[in-house]
Structures are given as C-alpha cells and as structure tokens.
Symmetry: C2
Subunit: 246 residues, 2 copies
C-alpha cells in the first residue's frame, strides 16, 4: 500500500484513498489512460498527477466526465479524446456495487454513458472501491441508473415498472438532473437484480433508454480498499477481444 | 383515394401524396396523434391541417422532429409532448424500407430516435410510403442509420465492421450531421440485413449506440401509394401490449 504502514481499521475515506492510490501502479509510460469519475478515482487522479510531477510519468488521459476533465486539467495531466485515441490501454474507474464475478452497478455520479463508452474502448479496466461496495447481488444497496432521452417522458416509467423496478426521475433541486450529454436519469430501485445480463438487454431495447449502469464483461481487476489494507480481485483479460481491429 | 379518380401510372411524388393523404382517414376526434417526419408524411400533415380547418377535426399532435413541429405549428395543428400525453392513439410516419412482414428501416431523415420513442408509445402506427420502399430484405437500397453519442468516436467503426457493415459518419457539409438530440449518425451499409432482430440487439448493446433505424413489432398498418392507387398492408394490433398500464 502506498504511503507506509496501513492504518488499522481504516474508515471509509481512508479505504477509498488506499484503493485509489494503488491503481496507478498498473499505469506505464506511454499509455493512454481512461479516467473515471467519483470520490475514489479522485485519489487515483491525484496520485497520477503526483507521479507525472515527481517521477516523470508520461501518459495521456481520456476523461469520462466534465468534472474529471476539470480536475485532471487543474492537476496538469495531458488530456485527449476518444476521437484522437480510440483504443485506451487502461481505464481506472469507481463503482457503486461490485459482485464476486466482477459485474458492476455504476452511475450514482451520473457519468455512466461516457464511463461505459470508455470502458468498452479499453484493453483493461481497473475498478477502485471501498469494501462497502462489495455485494453478493446488485441493486440491494443502490438503485440502477438509466440514462434516457429528455424527449421520452413518463411513458418510460411503465416500462420500468413492468421490469420489476420502482423508477424515480433523478432531480437536482426542483429540476431534473441533466447529464454531460444533455440527457435525464431514472434511478430504478429493485429488490435485487437476479439476472443482470437479461435486464441489460431488456433495458437496451426500450426506445428512449440510451444506456444503463450495468457493466458486464468489462472489468479486468478490482482493487478494494479495506480496513486492514487492500485486496485485488482478478477478472478476465480483455486483450483478445479488443486487439482484433489492430 | 382522396381527391377523385386516381391518376394512372403516377410518379413517385404522386404516390407519396396518395399514401400521405389516405392516412388521416384513421384519425378520429379527440385523438392524440404522433406526427412522423419526411416527404410523405408532409402530405399527411397538410391533410390533417385541412381536416382541422374544413371539417372541425379536433386532435392534439406530438411531433417527432423539430422540422415537423415547425410545419405543424405553421399549419395550425395543436401540439403537445410525450410528457403531457405519454400514450399516443395513432402515429403516422414514413419509412425508408418496408418488408412484407412490416419490419421497417428508418432514419434517412435523421429523426429515428424521437420517431422510435413515439412509435413505441403509440397504440397504433401507420406507415405511409411510395411503392419503391417495399423490399424483400432490408439494407439493400439504403444504409441503416444508427444514432451515436458524440463522445464515442471512431472506436465504434470497428464494432460496426465486425457486424458486417461498412460504416460512414453522416456529414452535413464539412461537419458531422447533428440530430435534434445533439448526437451523430453512422450510416451502416450492409449487403443485406438477414436477421433484423438479432442485429438490433447487437447494436443496442454497444455502449455509445443510442438508437438504430430498425423498427420491429411497431407497425399496425402500411399504406402504399402505387402507380394505380393505394394498397394497405395490415400488421399486428398493438392495443394489448400498450393497454397494460392503463
């Protein structure tokens, strides 16, 4: 773990920090790095910036949100886009829930669409979380966010209810929350999500639903900040799938 | 056919007009009417406006594009939105290709996302076309449009090629074409589309792909303007599927 002897029985913030700053160890000179969004990746971004300043690490980063873009720019990280770098070497991102087989629920921060595009454009995706995020089944602690076209309206709610969800339009004050792409988000509360793969397909086939917060077959590694250190869960290697086009 | 004796061996424009002005016969007082986009629906909109003026037809319309909204407003048709009227009684729209089992390829005009949302919110969808649009297999005369998030970039092209398509980013002059929702469109040229249902699911599961121009199980009736009159193809009744939530 970075920064000396692990603190015993670390609180949530310290767990996030442990996971966040451990991830840059997998970043090498010359890499194109996808930067996720959220309070754990915050530490990753700060640690990458430190390595660039102190150790001469040479990378170019593709941010997954306007918030991350602003932070990375402020910290002096060279930024690019998927248009210039369509194939990303490694992406480091957070998650709201993670199952033992590395299926993720994401999107509490509202950046799921860009995050999923970047994840699906990456050779490897490292997820950094605190240990509260590890769950046996998705959907029990967090609603599933779906990004929808603003034109679609409340007709979608019946579709979501038919899938067993309690839908709630995400608000910011008295107005609907608007994503970086100008869309709205419905948070779908399930008792639990029994079959994420089937649910993802059903959601994707509803006109007006643009993306959902289920991430399947996208994660290479999960770094968990724990009370007593860090744990690493290994997933599949994605190089085969992504190298085809090269 | 509206307007007296059918012209023999009508040209394309006359075929469009025949189909377009035949559709309002299915519109009744008090209905919420979805208005599609394009050169054939143009005649539908003009005929609806005439019926409102001359016959006191009383409807409220939900447009599927900014272009249709402007035209309908100019013609004095009362407009609403899916937010106010989530369930539409009847939608009248065009199509670029139609198979004998009423599967559609749409989106040459760039309005596919809103058109598909409105279609999927309608009890019944009437498609108006000229007879050139009738095909045995989709994709042979027209590329399949897919609407994509502007953030996604050229990484998507490899995904489309892997599906057997030749992708082309739709341009308007020297810049990419931008849809009413602020997205881009890729036109996918296939030799022919053998399994529209499977292709639609594959496309919907690619992060960054927001919608595609395949319309399955959405069409109730197709009115075809022909050289010698009009033909009506009947599809399934959708009332059961849509009345569940009422």
């Amino acid at each position: 773990v970075y920064g000396g002897k692990p603190q015993v029985d670390a609180g949530i913030e310290e767990q996030k920090k442990r996971a966040g700053i451990a991830a840059p160890a997998f970043v090498e000179n010359g890499m194109v790095v996808g930067l996720g969004t959220g309070s754990t990746v915050y530490y990753t971004i700060m640690e990458l910036a430190r390595k660039i300043r102190d150790e001469g690490l040479d990378i170019v980063a593709v941010p997954t949100s306007k918030a991350t873009e602003l932070l990375a720019k402020k910290e002096g990280i060279s930024l690019s886009t998927l248009k210039k770098h369509p194939l990303i070497d490694i992406t480091i991102d957070g998650a709201d829930e993670v199952t033992p087989d590395l299926v993720l629920l994401k999107g509490a921060g509202g950046a799921l669409l860009w995050e999923k595009i970047v994840a699906s454009s990456s050779r490897s995706e490292i997820i950094v979380i605190d240990e509260r995020k590890l769950v046996q089944k998705l959907g029990r602690t967090m609603p599933l966010p779906v990004e929808v076209n603003v034109f679609a309206g409340p007709g979608l709610e019946e579709r979501f209810i038919a899938l067993g969800a309690l839908p709630e339009l995400r608000m910011r004050g008295i107005s609907p929350f608007v994503t970086d792409s100008g869309n709205h988000i419905y948070d779908l509360k399930f008792e639990s999500i029994e079959d994420p793969k089937a649910l993802e397909k059903e959601l994707n086939n509803i006109p007006g639903v643009l993306e959902n917060g289920l991430f399947l077959d996208l994660t290479s590694k999960v770094i968990v900040g724990c009370r007593d250190g860090t744990r690493v869960l290994e997933g599949q290697i994605r190089d085969d799938a992504l190298n085809k086009g090269e």
